[in-house]
Symmetry: C2
Subunit: 334 residues, 2 copies
């Protein structure tokens, strides 16, 4: 855990000819220490190239200045943008980040959370696959926690994406552009984001074009799912003139597959994605999307958590992150 000849505060104290207690006080800039003593201690520390053992400090102080981040996956720009936002805010506050990733397996969430005990001051958890009640229970014994993008459990502050509103707006946009038969390429069933986006699609279709004008093809947010969905649409649903994909990756892959088959966006089929990842603006035609400021989501979650650790009494409110319709060439027909 440390190099061969690890030097501790005892070594510093010995060299400065003071007690360990005084060394500690000098090192930590306490006022109650003579200038001369402080000087001697600091000199000794410098001479020995002393680096404090932060693990030990955390244990005795009861604060680690570290926050745990539990994510379902690390794949793609969706997560990396969130981490970037968290990191940015954490860095500003002098906090370190302990990362834990469940690789998509929901039952690992609880394990990951437990593994954070005694190493973090607070938790940022994103677990769109897990039930709110179960998540709430997992979190109940631990440190303060903020839940990102999951069903609120009524106990922990939550920052959620307004998927329903976003999906409604996406579908309304396609209809406004003249689409009359629309396909939704969905995310995995049981994923809170995916379910809400699908619900928004179905609801809007039912109240506008009619339920039978829409079809849903299940996917899993991956490139492959976008390709497979496109192929199904090409062979089985040639009348489709609009596609709303549950994320940008599937939308991009779908659009590329269409193009290879000679089906062009936006004229033959208008396409819109969700998330607003950077890649969306560079494909041709540029992809319309419901843009999310994911880095902001991460930043806000961290700030919320800091507030929570400082005054324990923060209310378990839910903040919403609203997707913004960004119309680009892939869906612009009128």
């Amino acid at each position: 855990m440390t190099g061969a000849a690890t030097i501790t505060i005892r070594d510093v104290a010995r060299r400065a000819a003071v007690s360990v207690a005084s060394a500690s006080r000098a090192l930590n800039n306490h006022t109650s220490v003579t200038a001369a003593t402080r000087e001697r201690v600091l000199d000794a520390a410098r001479a020995l190239d002393y680096v404090p053992h932060l693990g030990a400090r955390s244990l005795s102080r009861g604060r680690s200045h570290t926050i745990g981040v539990v994510l379902p996956d690390l794949f793609g720009e969706f997560f990396s943008e969130i981490i970037r936002g968290i990191d940015y805010a954490a860095h500003r506050r002098g906090l370190q980040i302990l990362l834990s990733n469940m690789h998509g397996s929901a039952d690992q969430t609880e394990v990951a959370i437990r593994a954070m005990r005694g190493r973090v001051d607070g938790l940022l958890v994103m677990s769109p696959q897990i039930d709110a009640a179960i998540l709430g229970r997992s979190l109940s014994h631990g440190p303060p926690a903020v839940v990102m993008n999951a069903a609120a459990d009524g106990i922990h502050p939550t920052i959620a994406i307004d998927n329903l509103a976003g999906a409604r707006e996406a579908v309304a946009h396609l209809i406004e552009q003249g689409c009359r038969r629309i396909a939704h390429i969905g995310g995995p069933r049981g994923n809170a984001d995916a379910d809400a986006r699908r619900a928004g699609f179905e609801e809007t279709m039912a109240t506008s074009l009619g339920r039978e004008a829409g079809i849903v093809i299940d996917g899993d947010f991956s490139e492959e799912a976008g390709i497979a969905a496109a192929q199904r649409i090409l062979t089985e649903q040639p009348a489709i003139d609009g596609v709303f994909a549950a994320n940008d990756m599937m939308a991009v892959a779908c659009m590329a597959t269409f193009a290879e088959a000679g089906v062009r966006a936006p004229d033959q089929v208008a396409i819109i994605g969700f998330d607003g990842v950077p890649i969306a603006q560079y494909v041709t035609p540029a992809l319309s999307t419901m843009a999310l400021n994911l880095a902001e989501l991460g930043e806000r979650a961290l700030e919320r958590l800091v507030a929570l650790t400082e005054h324990e009494d923060a209310a378990p409110t839910t903040e919403m992150l609203t997707p913004q319709l960004v119309v680009r060439a892939s869906s612009r027909r009128v």
Copy 2:
């Protein structure tokens, strides 16, 4: 750092009516404990919903099962792919990741490394902006470390990208496609990757088309730099028929800027990037690139580190990650 009514191993021991030592042994699956005792302890732990304090365990065992990752930035797919590779391998080995990011400031590297002391068993450091000797010194007192993508210091094992070979191959490819006046959009001066890629460009130009056939425009790996470089080429260097950008982001932005001005790849100008990030295959025309398996870089670095922590005597060898030429439409002319 812990919830209100934190329960410790003492509580478990008390409830099971054994000593703390026995509780510890039972909890850790030691053999030297009666089946009955183990049962009682485990029951007590379950009843109290005990979660061990990993910080305390780390301190007494001298192992944290955590590795520290120090990166220069978190922006873009380059870093997220590396983290993903590290995480993947770490997860497989039951290791946690403590993340530290310097936001581009080289002098923060040393601070970041020190802040890891006592919290990690090993370090994975990427610091392309820092001098090898300085880095080596920063690392000298700490835990085992593997350096990613930086000049080898002769002390720590290093996994480096073969930028020179990659740049040579990229330029040779452009020439083979018929380019006669080639621009290089470089990364920031002082960045090891950028410098090596620039050197490869200049060297290859000098020995083939002649030094005067190439121009170098400095950039900083960002989208904006790609746009600015494209504008300069359009206005000042209309004879340019090939562009080798130091990374994909700049190549993509450059190509998009060209397209807006009516300059098409590959016919009017052949373009190739570096890194092989996923976005490259979705732009139109698809971007040629020197592809790097960044996730693999991360995985290999972690495995190397694990080997190092297990048998301390690993040699400070340098492994090379070789870029692969991926020819796509943006540079395919013949």
